[in-house]
Amino acid sequence: MSYCVNCGVELGESEKRCPLCGVEVINPAKPYSEKAERPFPASAESVTHRGVRIITAKVLSLLLVIPVLSVLIADLLQDGRLSWSLLPVAAMGFVFLAVIFPCLLKKPPVWLFILLGTVETAAFLFVVWVLVGGDWLWLFALPLTALVGAAAIGCYLILRSKRASVSLKIIVVLLILMVFVIVLQMLIELHLSGRIRLSWSIYAALSCGMVSLAVLIVSRLIRKNESIRKKLFF
């Protein structure tokens, strides 16, 4: 008969540590013995979700190999060289990286997921640019991809934060949206006309700013005014 010195509960003979607090059971009169019958057998049933995901990922990759090979062979048969087929192959590589690769990771954190997606998109666009050419990549496509990725990570980080209140989350997301539209129009204008002239993004940004201001004021009011708070609680 041993007790936990920390919790005051009597412990089963098979308990080496107190299951409640983790403190080791020390009873000089009755040292822990391995022989004591345990309430549960020592072997556990393994529950792996990962096995299934890996199998799914493998099957999907195999399925992707078929169109990749057929496209390459078709292109080769045409004139004996690889030309147009590189584009669809790059697209399928993109699908592989974006969909199947994350399946193989155990528990990918969402920000890493977004980051990978952004990098993969950029890489895909780069391949397309190498094949097609043009001046759209460096000044427009890549900055746009980076912008979308950064905005997504920012929104995700603030939304999952446990410290931030709901109103703060709304305000930060709206501010991110504000910056997003302004930079978006800057990029578009720069690409189309080579100059930065802001028009519609101003209105969008202003309305975002106004809404976030309203949220800020309302949340302040609620914090002050007990009766409104009561009505809005839950």
Binding site: G12, L20, V47
Partner: protein, 422 residues
């Protein structure tokens, strides 16, 4: 056979790694003879047709299809209630597991609820004891006579029969959520054994039932968790516990299938500190209100209405399935912090009492809430099992140490792994 009203949500909600399970087990005085158990199981399954069923996908709903025989008896494992794959189990939605002197039955919630599961286990034990020791065990109450077939009433869907005239949906408010380091692949079990008479006396002194007493201790433990985290007052949510209410006695129904509803009781910790006595009284009244048959009939009616809804009936399963799954995951059990399911006191005829030492009841992992607790008392012992899918044992510790401080003797055992093994 169609699934009963409460069971309809469980098949869509299940995933590759999770399904809603619970477990009842009995410990005898001698090691289990598996050959005898196999024979007893065959007879018992024949008496409980809802157990002899395979879950199948229809075009509009899941349904249950008749299945002969019984599942193979398995070795018990360290982590009970791990997801059940029906394919590995001969198609059955329940499994029987043996460990030394213990027979455990783990049941998918779509076939029955805790009371139905206990009735199955008691009947199985009665069959086992009568074959093993050659005694005649009298059958009464929920120990069923396996020589007669199941009646129509026992297989009826009690929800359809007892739905009230007016549907009143529950108002759901979100409750405080317990957070911890997730460990979803291993169900940690902490068992506390208390003196049933002592707890009953303590509850009686406060004018409450044992369930109400335990629920109060549990809510205090959950509220302690909250204090540790130092939530600011304006963002505190109430701590609430889901307490299943067995509808069989309330409605005079003898169904073997699901027939339970829930009362959601709680304390609003924004209102300041509660004393234990006043909290116990509040929980007592909340549970009484929750067990009002008229209110329950109205709640049942609103659940039955969902099933009878034309839209729900006409939409094919392959669309309904993901939608219901998502709805369950979003709604889940967010309106409660944890759960306490008490099966109450088990009484057995003396022929069985001579061989039965202990009963256990535990819940598998819930969808959102990381900790659940379940209790059953027998032979003067109240056994309460905490099952959790997080690493932190804070809630059990707060629960049992509070009891210790009040002068209750607590005995603890667990399925924890040795640190060296990890």
């Amino acid at each position: 056979m169609p699934l009963d009203n409460a069971a309809k949500i469980y098949p869509p909600a299940m995933t590759e790694g999770w399904n809603a399970l619970f477990r009842v087990s009995v410990t005898l005085d001698e090691p289990i003879d598996r050959q005898v158990l196999k024979r007893a199981l065959l007879k018992t399954v024949a008496r409980f047709p809802n157990f002899a069923m395979r879950l199948r996908r229809g075009f509009f709903w899941y349904y249950l299809d008749r299945l002969d025989g019984a599942p193979e008896i398995q070795d018990d494992v360290q982590n009970p209630c791990a997801r059940m794959r029906f394919r590995e189990n001969g198609g059955f939605a329940f499994r029987v597991r043996c460990y030394n002197r213990r027979i455990a039955v783990e049941i998918f919630h779509a076939i029955t609820d805790g009371s139905g599961g206990l009735s199955f286990l008691k009947t199985l034990t009665a069959e086992y004891i009568s074959i093993r020791y050659g005694v005649t065990v009298p059958r009464s109450g929920d120990i069923l006579d396996c020589s007669v077939p199941a009646s129509e009433e026992e297989l009826a869907d009690g929800f359809l029969k007892h739905a009230g005239p007016k549907a009143v949906p529950e108002t759901k408010r979100r409750a405080y959520h317990l957070n911890g380091t997730k460990d979803p692949d291993f169900l940690h079990v902490t068992t506390g054994i208390l003196d049933a008479a002592d707890i009953a006396a303590r509850a009686k002194a406060l004018g409450v039932t044992v369930t109400e007493y335990l629920t109060t201790v549990l809510l205090f433990a959950a509220a302690d968790w909250k204090h540790v985290k130092h939530e600011p007052l304006q963002r505190r949510r109430p701590v609430k516990a889901t307490v299943p209410v067995d509808l069989r006695r309330l409605f005079g129904c003898r169904t073997l299938r699901n027939f339970a509803n829930y009362a959601n009781v709680g304390l609003d910790t924004r209102l300041g500190e509660y004393g234990f006595e006043e909290a116990a009284r509040i929980i007592h009244h909340q549970l009484r209100l929750g067990a009002d048959p008229h209110l329950l009939a109205a709640k049942i009616a609103s659940n039955v209405n969902i099933e009878k809804n034309v839209f729900m009936r006409l939409v094919p399963l392959f669309i309904k399935d993901p939608v219901m799954s998502l709805a369950y995951r979003i709604e889940g059990d967010r309106q409660s912090t944890t759960c306490l399911s008490n099966l109450g006191r088990v009484t057995l005829p003396p022929e069985m009492e001579a061989h039965v030492r202990r009963f256990d009841f535990m819940l598998g992992s819930l969808i959102e809430n990381p900790i659940a607790s379940a209790a059953v008392s027998y032979n003067g012992k109240l056994v309460i099992n905490f099952t959790r899918t997080i690493k932190e044992s804070f809630l059990e510790r707060a629960f049992f140490t509070r009891l210790v401080k009040m002068g209750v003797k607590v005995f603890i055992e667990s399925n924890q792994k040795d640190p060296e093994e990890i």
